[in-house]
Structures are given as structure tokens and as C-alpha cells.
């Protein structure tokens, strides 16, 4: 069994970078059974990061009313849609496509979204409310991985990580 932990976001867009920060915090889990990756790409491009793994845990931002809240996104939240542009073909669509094509993509997938405010400030780090969620995000991912039977070390959230 091999697990990929995938952080999504854009490090230039304030809160939107939280998925990347989380991946960085979880980097210490890397090993033969676990791969930690991050990307600013979207849609079908995510397939590249998911192919070849049995399980996947994705951390992304979601626009919401209470920044910092962690929500698990269910299939119905992210169901396949017909989209007006490549940029927005979503992850579920990419997964269904890969499965239908007989490619090896994670059989188990959990998606955690950290709520962020709709407007982001270019060039800033995640806001305090969102950054404060980092330890909880890490714990959430660890619990999910543990529940699937992965053996884990304990990553530390280090001072200054948010401003790296």
C-alpha cells in the first residue's frame, strides 16, 4: 500500500497557500509507504500526482464563511461537472477519467478543505486565522492516514514554517 498526501494551493495567494504549508509540515512522513507532494496545478493536471498510488489524502482550501474551519469534502461536494474551461475540470472528474481508462489511481480518497475568505491578498502568507488551523490540519491528516493502517512518525509544526 502506498499513500500520497497532496497539498494544493498557490503560495502567492495568501490563505490559498494553506494546502502547501500543510504538505510542508507533513514532509517528515515521507517514506517507502508515504509520499508527500504539493502542487499549484488544477484539474486534470492533478492526475500526474495521483497516478500509481493506492490511497490519497488531499488538502486544499475552500472558500467559506469561517476561515480556519476544516471541512471534509464529500463526493457530493465535488461531483463531476461540465466545466467551461480546462482550468476548472475538477479532481473528481480527473479521477473518474483515470479509473474509466483503467489507470491505477487511489481507490480511497479523502479531501480536507480549510475554509478561507473569498478575497486573497497577493503575496502574503496565510492570514492568522487560517494559519492557526495548521496543527489541526496536520492532526486530521495523520488520523486519516492512521485509520487506513499507515505507520506514522510524528511531524512537528515548527516556528516560522508559515513564513518560509
Amino acid at each position: 500500500m502506498v499513500l500520497v498526501i497532496l497539498g494544493l494551493g498557490n503560495d502567492l495567494l495568501g490563505d490559498d497557500g494553506i494546502g502547501l504549508v500543510a504538505a510542508e509540515a507533513l514532509h517528515g512522513l515521507e517514506g517507502p509507504e508515504i509520499s508527500v507532494r504539493s502542487t499549484a496545478q488544477a484539474g486534470l493536471y492533478l492526475l500526474e500526482h495521483l497516478q500509481g498510488f493506492d490511497d490519497a489524502i488531499v488538502v486544499d482550501s475552500v472558500i467559506g464563511d469561517s476561515p480556519g474551519t476544516i471541512r471534509e469534502l464529500q463526493g457530493s461536494d465535488v461531483r463531476a461537472v461540465s466545466v467551461p474551461s480546462a482550468h476548472y475540470a475538477g479532481l473528481p472528474e480527473a479521477m473518474s477519467l483515470a479509473r474509466a481508462s483503467g489507470l491505477r489511481v487511489p481507490g480511497r480518497l479523502r479531501i480536507f478543505g480549510v475554509e478561507i475568505a473569498p478575497a486573497q491578498c497577493i503575496g502574503s502568507a496565510p492570514s492568522p486565522r487560517v494559519a492557526a488551523a495548521l496543527p489541526r490540519v496536520v492532526d486530521t491528516v495523520l488520523e486519516a492516514a492512521h485509520a487506513w493502517g499507515y505507520a506514522l512518525g510524528v511531524p512537528r509544526v515548527e516556528e516560522g514554517m508559515l513564513h518560509a
Binding site: 493536471y45 472558500i63 461536494d77 478575497a119
Partner: protein, 488 residues
């Protein structure tokens, strides 16, 4: 006309595409608008930063086409530092760029254009997606496209750097030379890419061109606009993705301008409208005459359709043959049918594969000299490339130390903004009657802009991972009577 026009502002970072439709008293379309966001935030962010960081920063603007921004920025830095890269560096940049265009176009062809052409424009919403395409055209297609793109992206990663964004572009050259070992492997990929391009060509031929209904749809008046066209050409006036001069042809196909990127401000100006903060570029020497077709209108467009119109042919053999066939089939040059963008994209896939093949086989690409070090004092730099969706211009100024003092980026969707607005208006008028707007009708309106693959707010990644499209329909008295959101 509506007594009150309410347009909720959209921000680049929220990433909404937005169609606003105003109906008259009889429920017919008075005016429809399509809004695209703009890049001011990123431009401001660049000011005060080191010029050398621009290729990395601007490649973060878009989660889909980082290579286009990276390359335009790198070329702007060549100009800023007044440095000419060695031949091998230019070849490596163009080779990577061809690889990028090939994989990006393939994605569009199968997964974006595909649902309209393979599945059909009026098929149920649930079927008009990637899965619908492979259900209809065969499971192997999905697998083949994914595998090819993965292999092509492997090249981008190997030469471009193993990070989220490419890092190979430096003022005066590239960071990494091509080794004989890489060349051997890339040659194999290039052969497969050529076969893949042929497969794309055949699929389009069999599914679209053999179907008279689709050809009729492509050439229908609802999706036709007679505007000017702009594209990058080489010295033989062949289309080029990476370098050359910008050429503009009129709706009759006559050349009206040809200029270096450096001169773009003499040829392109921007028009403002009260209903949006988006500015509409137009041809300065002709002037802004409104959202209208014709030779007297300064409206122009970019993207595959425009590129084929703006050049005199393709530089590689198979693409050149397809180019002639395309104009022959569609009734001569220029082609004004927006939906022909899909076919033009297939021809560019073939060109990209052939150009990749040419460059990777050239012994000169192995020259280890891939960097000319800058020695001049930086001041102002302008770079241009053909992004998959059309002309992309980066323009920077800096102080003597190379700290950026201004940045202006014009992306393809901005060049196309006026024509996209016209296309949406025309399509809406054609299909919305007596106030009836349903999903199938809406899709036909969306098709008018989907062919351009407009880039709305490339920076947004927040789940659910796709752009919400908002369609608002206003009655004559200015009340919003219907809102449809494409957000899942």
C-alpha cells in the same frame, strides 16, 4: 433597454466567469455580456521585486499555462538586460515550448472541445464531459491522452526543473543544456508525439469533419465574426509559437500591421466600458468603433483560429498540408468561424509535434553553451509568445539594479475580450427567445466562448477545483429574474 444595469464586480482572485444577459420587454435579448477578470494584482505585486524573479512569479498566475508566462517573462528579461541567448538556448526554449503547446492543446481537444463535438452540444448535461467523450469514442483514448501528456510533461520537468513551476528560463539563456542521453530519450518521445498528433488528426477527421451536422454548426452564422486577427509569424510569415513578429490581418485577409513586440504600444490601445473594469484592447490605428465586426472596427482576436489567419502557412510539412485543407474546406482565408478554433488547434498539435521532432534531431541543440551572461544596465524589456490561447505580452521596466518599477501583462483572453463579448451576445440573441433560458440553451451560449478557452482567473485553486460560472438574466426593468451557476 433596461433602466438599470447592475453588474456585480468580479475579482481576479475569486475567479468568476460571468455572463450577464439583459432582456427586453418581449423576453428577447437586448444585450449579453461576458466578463473576464484581469491581472492588475499580479502586476502590482511584481513592482519592487528583482526582475530575475519575474519568470517564477508570473508562472504562478496560471495553474494551467505556467510555461507560457515563464517563457514570455524570460524573453522580456532578455530584452530588459539587452542580452541575446546562444542558439542552443533558443532551441531548447522553443523545443520545451512546442512540447507544452502539444500537451495543452491535446488536453483542450479531448476534454474541453470533446464534449461538444464528440458527445454533442445538446446532449444531456451529465454526459457532456470527459467521461462522455471516452464512453463514445473508446476507453483507449483517455488512456492514450493521459499517457502521452505524462511523457511530455516528463520532458518539461527534466529540463524545466523539478518544482511546481518551471525554473529553466534565465535572462540570456536557460539553466540546463541537453545531454546526448536526454536527446536519445527525447527523440523517442518525439516519435511517439508524432504518432499521437496523427491520431488526433484522424479522430477529428472521423468524428467531426465526417459529420455534416458538425461542419454546419462550425460554419453557422451564430458562431461567426468578421474581425481582425493577430498572430506571431517568422520571417517567412509562417506561424511561430516562440518568436517572430506580430502580424495583423484584416477581415479580408490583407496585412494591416507587422511589428516587433517592442512596438506593441504603437499598435494596441485599450478601451474602457462602464459595465466592467476589464479593458478591451483594440487596434490603435483603426480605433475603437464599438463591439462590431468589419474592417473599420479595431476589434481583433488571437488564439488558434487567429494564428492560422494571421500567417501565410505552417513551417512543417504535415501541418502545411492540413493548413491548406482547412482553408479549402472552410471556404477560403481568413476563416471567421469561432468554432473552427478546434480544428485549428488540431493543426497546431501536428505542427507542435513536427517542430519538436525537428528541434530534438538538430545536432546544435547539444551545444553546452546555453547562456550569455548579461553585462548591460537593465531598463525596459518586452517579451511575447503565443500562449495556447493566443498572444501573451509581458512588459517590464526596472531601475539600474534590475528592481522592477512597472509591469504590464496582456494575456490572450484580454486580447479576445471584445470578440468573446460579441460572440456571447450573438449566440444569446440566436437561442434565447421569449425569456426562456434552460440548460441546453445556456450550453449553446457557453459554446460561443468555450472555443476560445478563456482564462478567467487562473490563480484560483480552491476546491471544488473548477471555476464557478455565473449567468445572470435581467428583465427590462433591471430586476434579476434568473441566475444560473455552473459550480457543480
Amino acid at each position: 433597454m433596461p433602466s438599470q444595469v447592475t453588474v456585480n464586480p468580479i475579482t481576479r482572485l475569486e475567479g468568476h466567469g460571468k455572463i450577464t444577459i439583459f432582456l427586453d420587454g418581449k423576453g428577447e435579448v437586448a444585450r449579453a455580456y461576458f466578463q473576464v477578470p484581469e491581472l492588475r494584482g499580479f502586476e502590482n505585486f511584481l513592482v519592487g521585486r528583482q526582475a530575475e524573479d519575474a519568470p517564477q512569479i508570473t508562472s504562478r498566475i496560471c495553474g494551467v499555462c505556467p510555461t507560457a508566462h515563464h517563457t514570455a517573462a524570460t524573453k522580456a528579461l532578455d530584452d530588459l538586460f539587452k542580452v541575446d541567448p546562444p542558439p542552443a538556448a533558443k532551441m531548447i526554449r522553443e523545443m520545451l515550448y512546442s512540447v507544452f503547446m502539444l500537451e495543452d492543446h491535446a488536453l483542450h481537444l479531448f476534454f474541453l472541445g470533446g464534449p461538444d463535438f464528440v458527445v454533442g452540444p445538446t446532449a444531456p448535461k451529465g454526459d457532456r464531459n470527459v467521461l462522455g467523450v471516452i464512453q463514445k469514442a473508446g476507453l483507449e483514448i483517455g488512456k492514450r491522452v493521459i499517457a502521452m501528456r505524462k511523457e511530455l510533461r516528463g520532458i518539461l520537468t527534466e529540463l524545466g526543473g523539478k518544482t511546481i513551476h518551471p525554473v529553466y528560463g534565465l535572462p540570456g539563456g536557460v539553466a540546463k543544456a541537453v545531454t546526448p542521453d536526454m536527446q536519445t530519450r527525447f527523440k523517442e518521445t518525439a516519435s511517439r508525439a508524432l504518432q499521437f498528433a496523427q491520431f488526433c488528426e484522424e479522430l477529428f477527421e472521423n468524428v467531426v469533419l465526417e459529420n455534416p451536422a458538425y461542419v454546419k454548426m462550425i460554419t453557422s452564422d451564430a458562431y461567426t465574426h468578421r474581425t481582425h486577427y493577430m498572430g506571431l509569424v517568422d520571417e517567412k510569415l509562417h506561424e511561430n509559437f516562440y518568436d517572430g513578429q506580430l502580424r495583423v490581418v484584416s477581415p479580408t485577409g490583407a496585412e494591416v500591421a507587422r511589428f516587433r513586440a517592442r512596438e506593441y504600444l504603437d499598435y494596441i490601445a485599450e478601451h474602457s466600458e462602464p459595465w466592467t473594469y476589464v479593458k478591451f484592447p483594440f487596434l490603435k490605428k483603426i480605433g475603437w468603433k464599438g463591439f462590431v465586426d468589419g474592417e473599420d472596427s479595431g476589434v481583433y482576436s488571437v488564439a488558434p483560429l487567429a494564428r492560422l489567419n494571421a500567417c501565410n502557412g505552417m513551417a512543417t510539412p504535415r501541418a502545411a498540408w492540413l493548413y491548406d485543407k482547412y482553408f479549402e474546406t472552410l471556404g477560403g482565408k481568413p476563416v471567421h468561424h469561432t468554432l473552427a478554433n478546434h480544428w485549428a488547434r488540431v493543426i497546431e498539435i501536428v505542427y507542435a509535434a513536427e517542430r519538436f521532432q525537428e528541434l530534438v534531431h538538430d545536432p546544435e541543440i547539444l551545444d553546452p553553451n546555453v547562456r550569455t551572461l548579461p553585462t548591460e544596465t537593465p531598463k525596459e524589456g518586452i517579451g511575447v509568445v503565443e500562449a495556447p490561447r493566443g498572444v501573451l505580452i509581458h512588459h517590464y521596466t526596472s531601475d539600474d539594479r534590475g528592481i522592477l518599477t512597472s509591469a504590464n501583462l496582456i494575456v490572450a483572453t484580454q486580447h479576445n475580450a471584445a470578440r468573446i463579448a460579441m460572440s456571447v451576445d450573438k449566440a444569446a440573441r440566436g437561442v434565447i427567445h421569449k425569456g426562456v433560458v434552460d440548460d441546453g440553451i445556456l450550453n449553446q451560449v457557453e459554446m460561443a466562448f468555450r472555443a476560445y478557452d478563456p482564462c478567467h482567473a487562473c490563480a484560483t485553486h480552491s476546491m471544488p477545483g473548477h471555476m464557478p460560472l455565473s449567468v445572470q438574466i435581467f428583465a427590462e426593468d433591471g430586476r434579476m429574474i434568473q441566475e444560473i451557476r455552473r459550480d457543480g
